[in-house]
Symmetry: C2
Subunit: 208 residues, 2 copies
């Protein structure tokens, strides 16, 4: 049985704050158990509310996953879009985006992991609702690399799309081994990625 | 009900061939459904045998996962170990390993995906039985990068261990978007990785 005072405390908070707390707790449960095995019962237990009270916020477990994925995608994409737009050569902007994306992953490791693991658990139309905007991670990286190739700083022999996929996929792969919230480690990882990838992209052309 | 002739056909094959077929079919089911949701019933249905017959080969679903992961780890590690041992400078060997590992992932995409997703589903002692040998992927990449730094071809300012983790993690991340068995695409991906990573590692030192 859940203590009444915890329930009361939860209910006393403003609705927006409770929604945000619900998403954080749900994300943690999904992160630990995987989406399939995560249960509304466990989420409500950890929140200290009755399971039935969840239906005041959501209609289904899928609604929670959708909200978590939509939120992390939106703030992550806003982060790299802002960094890419802050001026400088394409190389300077790409270096800034690489660093900022790594720091973002470290800061949002739970939600990023869910984003990279559980998107397929959503129906196609809800995936599209999240990913189908006019901007996207792949587009942003493609554009930066294309601009670098136009300005002559990134080697023209590299396939723009494949290179963007490799760069973005390599950065994202850090979620598998990064420690959450270790900012110092994240800065070192970002510096290494910046050096290796940027040097790799700007090196002189060889036949591929 | 499973047709008798398929059962008979399966039973008529040599034991080693049936075991190998069992692992292939099981890997496909685990790949499609995830380990938790994969059932012995579905595996036996696809093999065209009675579920009870599976216990002639294994004691539990976990035994199948263990066998799939042990096998893919063993042949993958043998692949890169062989490539790393074929002579040349550290950079030449690293380039050969990068290409060979990408081609291996493309050729074994189902098993590689299971390896990268489901290892945690095994108990710690069985994980250790697979990963705890005297050689390992991380060790092999660390060693090649350390040798490159000793011979002066890879920048000394890069942290050996972190760089090895980045290189191996970046290569492995291709399982997320590579198409199975498309050798031509795999060769292009391998060429791009080789160019970007090798150029990135050998570029002149800057302060990190």
């Amino acid at each position: 049985m859940i203590p009444t005072e915890r329930r009361t405390e939860y209910k006393r908070k403003p609705r927006e704050e409770r929604w945000s707390e619900l998403l954080n707790v749900a994300a943690q449960v999904i992160y630990e158990k995987g989406y399939r095995a995560a249960s509304l019962q466990e989420i409500s237990d950890r929140l200290g509310i009755m399971k039935g009270s969840l239906y005041y916020y959501i209609r289904s477990k899928e609604d929670i996953l959708f909200a978590v994925l939509q939120n992390i995608h939106e703030i992550g994409l806003a982060n790299v879009t802002s960094l890419a737009g802050q001026g400088g050569t394409a190389i300077e902007r790409l270096r800034r985006v690489i660093r900022g994306h790594i720091l973002f992953i470290a800061e949002h490791l739970v939600d990023t992991t869910i984003f990279l693991h559980e998107m397929k658990a959503l129906p196609a139309d809800r995936q599209k609702e999240i990913l189908g905007g006019t901007t996207s991670y792949p587009k942003l990286f493609r554009q930066l690399i294309a601009e670098g190739q136009e300005e002559g700083s990134i080697r023209g022999a590299l396939d723009t799309e494949l290179t963007a996929t490799i760069v973005l996929g390599s950065l994202n792969s850090t979620y598998r081994w990064m420690r959450a919230g270790d900012v110092e480690a994240a800065e070192r990882i970002a510096a290494h990625f910046g050096e290796i990838l940027i040097s790799g992209l700007i090196a002189e052309d060889e036949a591929l």
